[in-house]
């Protein structure tokens, strides 16, 4: 098996190596990739859409269809993960561990035992050994709000600087995953429940598709944001800029929610009870 793999891989590498001399050099301004479509985008993006970041303009306006279905792909990945892993099981099926916060004594509550749920003195802990980590908890408490703020900035400022819905959404999702990692899964559920995450991911896709449909209803093509001009009280060019922002918010919401939902399902193997 190993020799077969090695031969296949070497053959593939040899073919790629053989074809490479025909490719343009690195950093060649006359490479075919930058001669045909991209000059149009660079020269016309600002006058067409008033968005200086050409990547954002191409992503959400010129190639809006592509990005819409890309968002749908992530949404369906989140749903697929849920279908594959999620198990709905009674919560009191197993023994549970509680830690008394003041003394550090761990209580073991057998199946069907009475549980000090919601008590301020006791804290539920995972059945694998979890030490009390003050440094990690305090640090993450300090970091998480700023990460979230930065994520919102990345989404909102995607027109003028590197950023946009995908990047901002991933950063926001990472902030929530960091919170879940540094505390535990149940605490993260109190901040963003499974249902809220799934609703947010669906709402993100809905915002994107809804914007496109609204343009269609107002008499334009699907995802032709300039039709929103009257509704937004601007001219057609600025309307495209605002339309891009609306769509990016939808993308950010969907990406954030799917990242969090993937983490919830993968880290607890679908049980949503005890996880990383």
């Amino acid at each position: 098996m190993k020799t077969f793999a090695l031969i296949t891989v070497l053959l593939l590498g040899g073919l790629l190596f053989y074809g490479t001399p025909d490719f343009p050099d690195w950093g060649d301004p006359a490479s075919p990739a930058s001669l045909h479509v991209s000059p149009y985008y660079i020269e016309h993006a600002v006058e067409d859409t008033a968005v200086p970041n050409i990547v954002t303009a191409v992503l959400a306006d010129y190639r809006g269809y592509d990005t819409m279905f890309e968002t749908a792909v992530i949404f369906s990945a989140g749903i697929a993960c849920l279908f594959l892993l999620r198990v709905y099981r009674r919560k009191s099926a197993r023994t549970r561990l509680y830690r008394h916060n003041l003394t550090g004594v761990t209580l073991r509550i057998a199946k069907g035992g009475k549980l000090p749920e919601g008590s301020a003195e006791f804290e539920r802990i995972d059945s694998v050994w979890v030490p009390y980590d003050m440094i990690i908890k305090v640090t993450s408490r300090l970091i998480v709000p700023f990460v979230q703020l930065f994520a919102l900035y990345v989404i909102a400022h995607g027109h003028h600087s590197p950023g946009g819905g995908f990047q901002g959404g991933v950063i926001f999702g990472a902030a929530i995953i960091l919170y879940a990692l540094s505390n535990d899964l149940r605490r993260a559920f109190r901040r963003l429940s499974e249902k809220a995450a799934l609703l947010a991911s669906a709402a993100g896709v809905l915002i994107y598709v809804g914007t496109g449909l609204l343009c269609l209803l107002l008499g334009g093509n699907f995802l032709d944001y300039s039709m929103l001009a009257e509704m937004l009280h601007t001219d057609a060019i600025m309307a495209r800029s605002h339309g891009i922002l609306i769509v990016e918010i939808g993308v950010g919401l969907a990406v954030m929610a799917v990242m969090v939902s993937l983490y919830y399902n993968l880290s607890s193997a679908g049980r949503h009870d005890e996880g990383l």
Partner: protein, 132 residues
């Protein structure tokens, strides 16, 4: 000899991506552990992303964000030669997210397989499928 070397160095981005594709493909074919196969798949995806982004590069040119686009609209048209190609970046931006999504689904499948067969080794799974 020297021209051969300079030709080789002028295309160094392709050598890196070919190396990554080979590593990833080898992991996907030769490794028995499913998680290692998934990591191999991810390495191949990274190689493709590197390939696309590197063909959009232009030596000494800046990122495709037009400086002060708002103020200077009208009397300063952007020249395509001054900015690197935005198109590969756009395509790869979405490809990165899709690769994360496929990674998530693949890991979910791996968890499901582990739950069913108690192992992630390919040959052991094959044994257990044929058992009953």
């Amino acid at each position: 000899m020297e021209s051969l070397l300079s030709n080789f160095l002028a295309k160094y981005n392709y050598w890196v991506y070919i190396g990554l594709v080979m590593i990833g493909m080898y992991a996907m074919i030769a490794k028995r552990n499913l998680v290692k196969k998934i990591i191999g798949m991810n390495i191949v995806q990274t190689a493709v992303i590197l390939f696309y982004v590197s063909i959009g590069a232009k030596k000494g040119k800046t990122i495709p964000i037009i400086a002060h686009g708002h103020e200077e609209t009208g009397h300063h048209a952007a020249q395509a030669i001054d900015y690197i190609s935005p198109l590969p970046h756009v395509l790869m931006l979405t490809a990165i997210v899709v690769s994360v999504a496929t990674l998530g689904v693949a890991l979910a499948l791996a968890i499901k397989i582990y739950r069913q067969y108690g192992t992630l080794e390919e040959d052991e799974i094959a044994l257990r499928i044929n058992e009953p």
